[in-house]
Symmetry: C2
Subunit: 298 residues, 2 copies
DNA sequence: ATGAAAGCGCTAACAT
DNA sequence: ATGTTAGCGCTTTCAT
């Protein structure tokens, strides 16, 4: 019998098996989209971890709240999926849609509910570190370009920036803080504002690399040199940013590891129903390249 | 009865349903990895199309041949999945592992088997167009940085380059053709070779953006200006390349659309068992920015 | 140890 | 139209 099984290369029908066991071995990851580098890396890490434990990973994108809500509902009620990885950076009602009696782990945003595990970057610390790097170089007039204010990580990175300034006895000026929308164009714009309003600054900390690049562009456009005149630091360490002129100093976040850890946590939740209060914080790493230097005399 | 169904917000158990119908509504997409922009966009397009038709999309990465083979075997034999989207750019034995009696569509590589549909970029035409753009600007000494020679698209892009040169009566010099490995470093290296061997050239066509950026870097490093001294054109139109100095001229491939079309084709294959010989070719689009210009007198 | 039977929650084919 | 039943391919329990 065993021989025949091998000879025919037989595999049990996964569906029937799921049916009998009440388990689908499917996990799902919901993200605003699947192509942003950050999300793609999380998904990749999660997929590898899932596969390593014998699970499959459904990738789902939900650009708007309605899709998000609907998708979560379907996935859970249809029992298509045994657990959910949700990537929702926004501080909005989506967090209320997250079921509490179902295995869910939140990625890249702290959970609102103590019973839902989450794995996030230590954004506040990272914001602090970036600012500290600039201060250590001798800067004291440091502009900040934030992302949209409805995202958790923006609040935290800003908090880190503010804490660092205050710990070094530097008074914050509200004109230094410009809000962007993560796009390079918004970085360009923010610097233009800064320049127009005559605010003096010798460094800018952009909360993501794309805005940092946009910021660098507008600095270069008006003839300012980076880093001789103005230092620029980004956040993410996207591929290619080291190939810019000058190579971008930035804060690297290891999204692959975050995705991996999130999937592992989810699987543990499923298999051991271990709903312990687990909120992982993953440290970021400063990557010093050529876009930051000592302040010039501008 | 109907009322109770609604009141309880009842959803049929997807697994039992699959069991009874013999359908899982799962598609799977296998790619070398999930985070390269090109792959991520394909997956995103496929996922959106799949969801639009009521299917779910499993994302799977298979970095090495063994994983690939194993994964395909499991996915199919376990009947976990109803159809496969395979992204395999390599000209290797993986193509032989692709089952013919199972719904599969090949993405970003032409299928070896006439019964397997595929959707690919018109790489040859795109290579031709990029070269033509340079020739139209007045260049006649055009270096080429290719990707690894074991990939389909490399062969085709190169073919387009060669055909364009020959159609314009330009004789090809083998020293102009440098092989890279898609990484920026290999682009840097290729230009260094070109420079060292004293080959004269006024433009370089890199078969992806990352190598183009690497190439630009080494040009700039030795004091050559882009595009005044040397023109550079890339391929892909990755995010951010328009923020480089100079903004990169490149060939845009609409991977989202390719993924979408591939998923639609797969679904048709499943639902109508329509195994018609369909090999889609999606056109690329030249995006002219600032890294290409008329040849200088170098 | 091996074999028989019940049942997982649906759908489809039947009978009323 | 409505209700009933067999069966999808496994796992698990119970009997041999």
């Amino acid at each position: 019998v065993e021989r025949v099984i091998n000879d025919l290369d037989f595999r049990p029908n996964a569906i029937a098996r799921s049916m009998a066991k009440g388990r689908s071995l499917n996990l799902a990851c919901i993200a605003p989209n699947l192509s942003d580098y950050t999300f793609a890396r999380i998904i990749e890490g999660a997929q590898v971890a899932a596969m390593g434990h014998g699970y499959y990973l459904l990738a789902a994108s939900a650009a708007v709240v309605e899709t998000f809500t609907h998708l979560i509902g379907e996935l859970i009620k249809s029992r298509h999926t045994e657990g959910l990885l949700v990537i929702n950076p926004y501080r909005d009602k989506r967090h209320l849609e997250i079921p509490i009696e179902f295995p869910v782990v939140l990625v890249a945003a702290a959970s609102r509910n103590p019973r839902t595990p989450s794995v996030v970057l230590s954004d506040q610390q990272a914001g602090f570190d970036a600012t500290k790097h600039l201060i250590d170089l001798g800067h004291s007039q440091i502009a900040l370009i934030t992302g949209p204010s409805n995202e958790d990580c923006v609040r935290n990175r800003t908090k880190g920036y503010l804490r660092c300034l205050s710990e070094h006895g530097i008074e914050t000026r509200t004109e230094w803080i410009q809000q962007g929308d993560w796009s390079p164009a918004s970085g360009t714009n923010a610097v233009r504002n800064l320049l127009n309003q005559g605010t003096s600054f010798s460094a800018v900390f952009a909360q993501n690399d794309r805005m940092a690049l946009g910021a660098m562009k507008s600095l270069l456009d008006v003839g300012l040199r980076v880093p001789q005149d103005i230092s620029v630091i980004g956040f993410d360490d996207m591929p290619l940013v080291s190939y810019f002129q000058p190579a971008l100093t930035t804060v690297r976040q290891d999204m692959y590891r975050i995705g991996q850890l999130a999937a592992q946590t989810l699987i543990q939740l499923i298999e051991q129903n271990n709903m312990s209060h687990t909120q992982f914080q993953i440290p970021a790493e400063l990557v010093i390249r050529d876009s930051t230097g000592h302040p010039g005399r501008i």
